[in-house]
């Protein structure tokens, strides 16, 4: 396909423009954490709000809440996603396609549906709302991330290595521990990091499954940003959420050769 020089330039220009637009809000939101004024208009740079924000009991509690939720949701997703990836890659069974479909549903359906559906279920079962319910909800949409990462790696692993291990007398679990898992390690890492990042900044599903007392950092931001007095603390919280959602993903990208494709996305 021969594109004229003008066409190439136009496409290059469009791409650069979009990259700038994609990053502008992110960088601006990050800078607001250093804003001297108590507003969303950048006036000067300072770090004076940082100690204040981190001393605030509400911010601390929310930060701890998000961390705890993301940690447990990641563990559950890691276990279930891995089991599922093994089942899907190594076996054919009735309903396999339907199951692959069900894994994607929690992220392919809008968050509000997952949220309100889990809310109805918890209510009908009489489960009280709190951290437990947020963790359950988050784990549900994190499974797919781990599953996709592990499955992609499993598909590339040659079966011959496991067979060689078995031929040398190792039983199933020895092979798993010494051959299979080491080869999967980086996909576990990538999946776990992405699941953590996904859970840490989630807000919609959280709103519907949190109940009155459990608070996460995104909930703190949403609840306080229309209160001018809390704005500097909100801005600091914004940067924390931003860093904890972007930096880990950069590492995950380096761990999984394929990069965080849609396969590993929310």
């Amino acid at each position: 396909m021969h594109l004229s020089k003008t066409a190439r330039r136009a496409i290059a220009g469009l791409t650069s423009l979009v990259v700038v637009i994609l990053w502008a809000p992110i960088i601006y939101a990050g800078l607001l954490a250093f804003n001297t004024a108590k507003s969303t208009t950048l006036q000067g740079l300072t770090v004076k709000w940082w100690p204040e924000a981190f001393r605030d009991p509400e911010v601390r509690e929310a930060l701890w809440g998000s961390t705890r939720t993301a940690f447990f949701a990641t563990i559950i997703a890691l276990i279930l996603g891995t089991l599922l990836a093994f089942a899907i890659q190594r076996f054919s069974f009735f309903g396999k396609d339907a199951l692959s479909f069900a894994v994607v549903l929690p992220i392919a359906l809008p968050g509000i549906i997952t949220g309100i559906a889990l809310n109805s279920a918890f209510r009908q079962l009489g489960v009280s709302f709190g951290f437990k319910t947020i963790v359950i909800a988050h784990a549900t949409f994190c499974i797919v991330v781990v599953h996709n990462n592990v499955l992609a790696r499993l598909r590339r692993l040659p079966a011959s290595l496991e067979e060689a291990s078995a031929d040398l007398g190792a039983h199933t679990f020895t092979t798993l521990r010494h051959v299979t898992f080491p080869m999967l390690a980086s996909s576990f890492g990538a999946g776990a990091i992405l699941a953590f990042a996904l859970s840490f900044d989630e807000i919609v599903v959280t709103t519907f499954t949190a109940g009155a007392n459990a608070k996460t950092l995104p909930q703190y931001i949403l609840g306080n940003f229309s209160r001018p007095n809390n704005l500097p603390k909100v801005n600091v919280a914004v940067l924390v959420v931003l860093l904890l959602s972007i930096i880990p993903v950069w590492f995950a990208q380096r761990l999984s050769e394929s990069g965080p494709g849609m396969a590993s996305s929310r």
Partner: protein, 281 residues
């Protein structure tokens, strides 16, 4: 251990059961069960005096949605916005992905692909919040720099949703273009195909499933959104806002309303599965 291992080796069914039972319980029993619970809740009704949910079966919520014109308007508006967002995102995703996959040098490609995909992971709430400050009719950045601003309303809602979901559209389209061999493009050129002809007759057909995959996210996420809509939409109401607003006062009605995007998305996803688009996600 060795005995268990031997047993598992001899009985593949048992092995499968061990692997599948936990994820099945979670995804099928719990998640699909929750979707069923949502369906059941939508038939319940609200006690007008106490505000409590009465667990009695009836179609009153659906009758209300069908007869009250506000709901119809909201559904139509939401579908239109979701469609506009999807069209905008795909229209941008195609040339950008083409640049990444076929024009840029390997070094530029590496940098740009990270620059384009990373914003997807940056917190949704933070991005919506930043846009709220940008489009602010009072002293927002856009007003200051350009003199005019889309302000708070339907225009900003569409722009911001298109912004938020753009990386979801770029990823599958880029992956699809990377798989398209350059030789096909060259062959088309050798046969006299003009760039636009090649684009229409070679690139677009090959990209089909990738475009569908990209549209799933842009469409679905737009249909369910209420936070960005609330932040930049002013008085604009979308299906998500109606669900959220009714959620506390009238749970059964909120459940019934939320079935609309769910039904639309299920049909969309099942259709997309036929095209093989789900493997592109």
């Amino acid at each position: 251990m060795r005995a268990l291992s031997r047993l598992l080796y001899r009985r593949p069914k048992l092995r499968l059961l061990a692997l599948l039972s936990a994820p099945m319980v979670w995804l099928v029993v719990a998640y699909l069960g929750a979707l069923a619970a949502l369906l059941i809740t939508s038939f319940y009704k609200l006690d007008g005096f106490s505000g409590a949910t009465i667990k009695e079966f009836g179609f009153q919520n659906f009758t209300e949605i069908r007869t009250v014109s506000v709901y119809r308007h909201v559904v139509v508006r939401t579908v239109l916005v979701a469609t506009a967002v999807t069209v905008i995102d795909l229209a941008l995703a195609i040339p950008i992905s083409f640049y990444l996959a076929k024009i840029a040098s390997p070094r530029v490609r590496r940098i740009l692909s990270v620059a384009v995909t990373m914003p997807l992971w940056a917190s949704y709430l933070v991005k919506a919040y930043a846009w709220r400050t940008f489009v602010d009719p009072g002293d927002g950045l856009i007003k200051k720099v350009f003199g005019v601003t889309p302000g708070l309303g339907l225009a900003s809602t569409t722009i911001v949703l298109a912004y938020l979901w753009l990386p979801y559209a770029i990823l599958p389209v880029y992956a699809g273009l990377e798989r398209l061999p350059d030789s096909l493009l060259e062959a088309s050129a050798d046969l006299g195909g003009h760039a636009l002809v090649t684009f229409r007759k070679v690139v677009i057909p090959v990209l089909g499933p990738a475009l569908v995959a990209g549209s799933i996210f842009t469409f679905s996420l737009s249909m369910g959104d209420y936070i960005a809509v609330d932040l930049v939409g002013g008085k604009t109401q979308m299906i998500g806002s109606v669900v959220y607003d009714n959620f506390v006062q009238n749970g059964p009605l909120a459940a019934a309303v939320s079935l609309i995007p769910m039904a639309i998305m299920l049909v969309y996803l099942l259709g997309a599965r036929q095209t093989g688009a789900l493997e592109n996600m």
